[in-house]
């Protein structure tokens, strides 16, 4: 407990931290955030992680506010994470799933949104199968919209918690090498991570079979490889995406076994990578497909920490959008 001196790093941090202020009523994607805004969310997330470590894991900040989880696509992980985040902030939470709702009766996204606004809710957390859905909703409503995943476009809170976890393990992430492996073309997690990591000065490499590398991706400032060992070679961290066999993968892989043989992250392959390489996965994991079970449970894996950090990050996001002055994008 030393006295703070005038020039201590913490003192100057106090001065600099005041420069970033959150002004957006929505969180739609990391493409639309500045480096400072991303850092602001992560900074706040640190404080919320401390809240989660208390015996009484609750603060009254969003008391009286209502958060609606509007999920057009199935999800357990993200939905529960957002629900818990909202509850820890003392907000009231409502979850609307596609099944058994008026959505099945053909109600449009905007109509559903306007109805929720008329019900005097405050924040809509939306997951939808169409890219751009969250943006559409945010444009039409005065209340806040948080994108929990829209089509192939963005999943900003996932990337934020990935980056948060990375920053916990390595103080400074600028200049690190991070590889993202999997179906990049159809992955919103990949896109959000690419935006977030490149803005923070990280060297990003994407790795996938040729058919699953989207056109022009190098223009986003990433390196491209089709070889998993290449992707692992200099990596400080690797983010392994779930291979979605239920989606059309353009026949890139006839079977799970094929994928595992060519792209699976195995203990053998990890041996050739950096000893302290960080292994991440957004979940749920297909054990024995994109990752060996031993790797998922191994010492390099931070997958469970990602899950815990997810709540802190989402609390930070809900807190920030709720305090922004209402203004349509």
């Amino acid at each position: 407990m030393k006295l703070l001196s005038a020039r201590s790093p913490e003192a100057s941090k106090v001065a600099n931290a005041k420069s970033a202020i959150w002004t957006k009523k929505d969180l739609l994607g990391l493409e639309y955030l500045s480096k400072e805004e991303i850092e602001l969310i992560l900074d706040n997330a640190k404080s919320f992680k401390e809240v989660l470590a208390r015996p009484l894991r609750k603060v009254p900040t969003l008391r009286g506010k209502t958060v609606v989880n509007l999920f057009y696509e199935p999800s357990t992980r993200t939905r529960v994470s957002f629900e818990l985040a909202a509850k820890r902030l003392s907000a009231d939470v409502i979850t609307i799933l596609k099944e058994g709702s008026s959505i099945e009766k053909g109600e449009t996204l905007i109509d559903t949104g306007k109805n929720l606004e008329a019900l005097k809710t405050d924040i809509i957390v939306v997951r939808h199968g169409s890219s751009g859905a969250a943006i559409m909703l945010a444009r039409a409503l005065d209340i806040s919209v948080v994108n929990a995943g829209d089509g192939w476009h963005e999943h900003p809170t996932q990337a934020l918690l990935d980056i948060f976890t990375l920053m916990e393990k390595r103080r400074r992430i600028e200049g690190l090498n991070v590889s993202i492996v999997g179906d990049i073309a159809h992955s919103r997690v990949a896109r959000s991570n690419i935006w977030g990591l490149t803005k923070l000065g990280v060297n990003v490499t994407v790795c996938a079979p040729k058919e699953l590398i989207p056109a022009g991706i190098e223009k986003l400032g990433v390196s491209v490889t089709n070889n998993i060992d290449e992707a692992l070679k200099k990596a400080d961290a690797i983010n392994v995406l779930r291979m979605q066999f239920e989606r059309d993968t353009k026949g890139a892989f006839p079977s799970r076994i094929e994928y595992f043989k060519t792209f699976g992250v195995t203990e053998e392959r990890l041996k050739k990578a950096k000893k302290d390489i960080i292994v991440m996965h957004p979940g749920p994991i297909n054990r024995g497909v994109e990752m060996a079970a031993e790797v998922a449970d191994g010492a390099n894996s931070v997958i469970m920490e990602q899950v815990t950090n997810g709540i802190a990050v989402r609390m930070a996001v809900l807190y920030l959008v709720s305090t922004a002055k209402k203004k349509k994008p």
Partner: protein
């Protein structure tokens, strides 16, 4: 004397005319064009400082009658045409039911006779219900008045069938208009394949889906020596293929739509569905290639591909929204603002692209020109007038245009159809 138009800048590409002249209209036809015409006329129009040209002809318009009259009708569509200086339009056959048999053509002709305020020509389908399987009875269609055939909106995927269609159309004396799209490649794509599609997380339509079929159809047309017109050219490879084919003597003509020389794929970044069309908006390089194709004659005509859609079909998620935008009222304005004004394409060429060439391609001998004896379809344009395209002023029943609130230069001030003044006199009554 009926109508005397004095001292306008008369641009008539067919007669290689571009100068200040008087134009006389009598009994629905152009009777004289001369340096000065004296005498009393029922209506004298002072066209000093204005451009006087043959009425514009838009050879690619979707009137939604029969079937989707909520989106557009013959009545509302032809009113929208007038506002754009257009005196003749080709109605495409993707109506409900499709215009694939003489009976339906007959019905539509009756509606046109009753409701249309400009000339409406009917483009019949090539195959039954545009499904790309069975050819229609082309001779019967021609007899009932079809001016050309097209499956527009769809493409004949089967090459041998396309070849058969070209041969049959040639035998029947009909032009085939081809919407070139390899559905196996375009699949469920919604924007141009490339960095924008990648950023937006939307499925891309590869350019090959268009130009490979342009190449296929152009080669078939040459083999059969059958007249072929390529619809809505959007990419540079297609322009190159058409250029080469024309040089080799293929009987091919081509059109492009104003959005392909006015917008590129970067317009899609806000997920605004008024930038969603098929073919999609392409890259800036393609826009440049289109402009070059328009200037050097590779592309013969500008046609709007006017595609009305209701709010509930457009104001939804990007990948669920319908393709297409309206265009009758902004075609000329975009051509003036993005081509003539920017000096890429001279005025004579603009009139050629929007009037003379469509008339020639469709075989309309008495239109697209101010030669004495031709139909008095005339448009008078104030080339300097600046105006803003507002949503409230749109005459089409549908409002799906990305050009709303754009500032334009060049406004249509008068339109005469077969000797009758439609704009501004009869016009101006609410729909």
């Amino acid at each position: 004397m009926d109508i005397l138009i004095k001292q306008g800048r008369v641009i008539d590409p067919v007669n290689k005319c571009d100068g200040v002249f008087d134009v006389l209209v009598e009994k629905g036809t152009i009777s004289k064009v001369a340096k000065t015409i004296d005498g009393k006329a029922r209506l004298v129009i002072d066209a000093k400082g204005k451009i006087v040209a043959p009425g514009l002809i838009d050879m690619h318009v979707h009137l939604r009658e029969p079937g989707r009259e909520d989106m557009e009708t013959v009545a509302s569509g032809t009113r929208a045409a007038i506002a754009g200086g257009i005196t003749g339009i080709s109605a495409m056959p993707n109506t409900r039911p499709a215009l694939d048999n003489p009976g339906i053509l007959k019905n539509l002709k009756a509606i046109i006779k009753k409701d249309a305020i400009v000339n409406v020509f009917i483009v019949g389908a090539i195959t039954k219900d545009r499904k790309g399987a069975l050819l229609v009875d082309m001779k019967a269609m021609k007899k009932e008045g079809a001016i050309a055939l097209s499956d527009d909106g769809s493409s004949i995927q089967d090459e041998p069938l396309m070849r058969k269609a070209l041969k049959a159309a040639k035998d029947a004396g009909l032009l085939l208009i081809s919407h070139c799209e390899d559905k196996k490649l375009s699949e469920s794509g919604v924007v141009n394949e490339g960095i924008i599609a990648t950023k937006l997380g939307l499925r891309g339509i590869p350019r090959r889906a268009e130009y490979e079929f342009v190449d296929r159809d152009v080669k078939l047309a040459q083999k059969e020596n059958a007249a072929l017109h390529i619809a809505h050219v959007s990419c540079k490879e297609a322009v190159d293929i058409i250029r080469k084919a024309k040089k080799a003597g293929a009987p091919v003509t081509a059109e492009t739509a104003p959005h392909y020389f006015s917008l590129d794929e970067t317009a899609c970044t806000a997920y605004d569905t008024r930038t969603k069309m098929n073919p999609p908006l392409r890259s800036p390089d393609d826009v440049q290639a289109i402009k070059e194709g328009l200037a050097d004659g590779t592309i013969d005509a500008i046609a709007s591909d006017h595609a009305p859609h209701g709010k509930h079909e457009k104001e939804i998620e990007f990948d669920a929204a319908s393709f297409g935008i309206i265009g009758l009222e902004t075609s000329l304005a975009l051509a003036i603002t993005n081509l003539a004004d920017k000096k890429n394409v001279p005025w004579v060429r603009i009139i050629e692209l929007m009037s003379a060439a469509p008339a020639r391609i469709l075989g309309l001998k008495k239109k697209g020109t101010l030669s004495p004896g031709s139909d008095a379809d005339i448009v008078i344009i104030d080339p300097e007038k600046e105006w803003v395209y507002t949503k409230e002023a749109i005459l089409s029943k549908s409002k799906n245009s990305p050009f709303i609130n754009w500032r334009f230069k060049g406004k249509v001030t008068r339109v005469i159809v077969e000797g009758r003044e439609i704009l501004p006199r009869i016009f101006g009554h609410p729909l």
